[in-house]
Amino acid sequence: MAKRINDMTIRLGGEAGQGVESGGAGFAQALSHGGLWLHTYTEYMSRIRGGLNFFQIRVADHPLWAHTEGVHVLLAFSPEAVTNYGPHIVEGGALMFDDTLKFDHDAVTRRNVQLFSMPLTKIAQDLGGNKIMANTCGLGALAGIIEYPFEFVADVIRRNFMRKGDAVVQGNLKVAEEGYKVGRDKYAGSFDWKVSPLGERPDRMLLNGNQAIGMGAVAAGCRFMSGYPMTPASSILEYIASHAKKFDIVVKQTEDEIAAILFAIGAGNAGARALTATSGGGFSLMVEALGLAGMAEVPVVIVEAQRPGPSTGMPTKTEQGDLLFALFASQGEFPRIVLAPGTQEECFHTAVRAFNLAEKWQCPVIVMTEFYLTTMMRTLMPTEFPIERVQIDRGELLTAEQLDRLGEPYLRYRDTPSGISPRALPGHPKAVHQACSDEHDEYGHFEDEDPANRLKMAGKRWRKFQNIVEDLHEPTLYGPEGAGITLMGWGSTYGAMREAVDLLNASGTRTNLLHFVDIWPFPEAKATPLIEAARQLVAVEGNQSGQFAHLVRAMTGRRADRMILRWDGRPLSPEYIIEKLEEAKVHA
């Protein structure tokens, strides 16, 4: 068989605590430094130690958008990893394992899968003096069988163990090198997939969706974040906390999600760009306060990192099941903006836009992601994150100088043609004012009886909602125009859809893709012609009911011809989409 270069999937599988995540991340770094493009995908159980986890790296010499099905080499650290992930190994692929690992060989040998047994623990003990280094030995061996130059692995070991001192670095290097030799000498000849560094190796970034959102928030001048830890949103709070001192951000872990959003609303109303992040369960608790932000017209950004529900659901799995909930959460009618980035670069730009839109329109902005996007990493060019060129738009925020010159009394909720009332921060002598959750007059005083006032103020808020849509983006179209099939999706399924479109077009099925980031207010005028132009409209979503398709039907009257849905807690992949298309006999 011909050697296939630079296009393969590597999976590390084992128990939590066995270094699956850290080892995988280190190996990904080594590949990234070789100029290669990566897409990682991780699955873990909702427990601290034990269980079964994997860290998967797809590596190629071209940019990647999604993980794909099929593992070329599995480095298994536990018997369960073999049993559960063995079936994912492709024909001709390999299972790597420590020679002391006891497992049912039949589970994998029934198929054309090679068994690469190696004395990882023995090498670790003999050369490093510590069996914990078996992990390092395995990564060295992995590099050996794919014939990836050892120097890249060595660099990462030096960098990552530097803080632990020279002895640890040297021990790990020796163990990794011996593993490398065993992998290369014993098994490289019979393994068909190879990875080699590229000639050009510009600096690239390897990051996940939550990190991109955190970076976007810092770039946008976020000054306040409150949150209550909840998977998969917690790492945003952690990212912001670790950057708080340098960028003057006050970070508060609160007693619950109710307090988290209320802290953010308090800070947002006082003038600090404020953020909170949670998942569906936490968002459920925040809903009452969401309405408060809507009624009191307070800018606040809420990240809703979805996981499967209802209730506690599947804490460490993925789903897009909260869309309609986010659109309509809380009683009454009020302006809100819902955005759903699909990629890391979109996470960054969406975070920046969320703060600008929240302040411009003085309303809550909800950013929807999901477990898959929050944890999967991709390599990206630094130019995708133009932090220093971010535009900060604070909307109609009156400066102290403007307020000094104010002739008439300040009206916090002034009825204006745009619906936006120029905002003064509390603290200026000429702008003493009240924010109010009851229906109020233009001053902000309770006026919860008068019908004329109700019509005026509700009208002002509704006008604002109608005008927001002008600021929102239309969906992006990818693939050939006039295609026979149009995949339609939102948020984090973008990558899988995009790669499916490429595969389908390569096989002669003309397909394109309509992807929405800006969802609410629904960009009806901009989106309708694109939706109507679809010959066969196929809704692709990570939920059971096709929530976005329902929204599109309600807003445009166009019903999706087919739906490709996934709700088993696993992310959509290009192969899954194509398989379901074929099952549904959708033909161009």
């Binding site: 000054r223 306040f224 309405g291 603290g427 924010a435």
Partner: protein
Amino acid sequence: MLDVKTFNNPIKVTWCPGCGDYGILNAVKSALAQLEIHPHEVMFFSGIGCGSKLPDYMNANAFTTIHGRALPVAMGTKLANHDLNVICITGDGDGYGIGGNHFLNIMRRNPDIVHIAENNMVYGLTKGQYAPTSERGFITSTTPEGSIEIAFNPLTTAINGGALFVARGFSGDPKHLAKLIMAAIQHKGYALVDVLQPCVIYNKINTYDYYRERVYKLEEAGHNPADRDAAWHKAQEWGEKIPIGILYQVEGQPTYEEQVSELKAGPIAKRTLQPLTRAQADALRREFF
């Protein structure tokens, strides 16, 4: 001294005639005037309930929020702009019932926030149901056989929970109450002023007369607010004699906001926002190389 009228606004007060909240409103205005705190220098927060309308009747910055949630909104504002004098107005159900978790947690944090709890031991605005502070046996529309729960004691809870200023006032004595509120504002850190506030419609037990016969002033009784054990005992005194005044006060402890390193350079809400420099941007990106 500022004129008390500075804090008047033309909004029509909708409290029932004789409501205990009037005394609190007057005491708050008087305290601010005596301390020469101008309307733009103070911000009120309230939840939902009769008493939560108090900020609406003041010429001052305010945020009237949702039921039970004044404290966390106030805390968010304090962390964004600690130059503002922050005063929270809650009812007993609002502050101790639905907002109970926020009450427990704000005490641990010690922000420089004044918390005035209008405690009428009944739900007024929803027309007379029992409250967390209602006495055991209290008969209401939802407890026709009398409440079988023991009453929540905000004062012992506050002393236990870490509050360093715990006081009780009586709205029938607004002058004394104004002094307590002044002391609470001057106290650096979280300060609870629980106010015995008769609901003339729904609470026929804890009336003005009931309190007038029983209340006595701690400062006249020689109570030492620095004595935590004594405060604890006074907090449990209820029946024939009911103490009002400052039960417990410890000064000199740092506030939450004083300990947040990001706030050392002044309020974050007052900082100008600008795009990051090239060097800052590079450093952020480099973390992921």
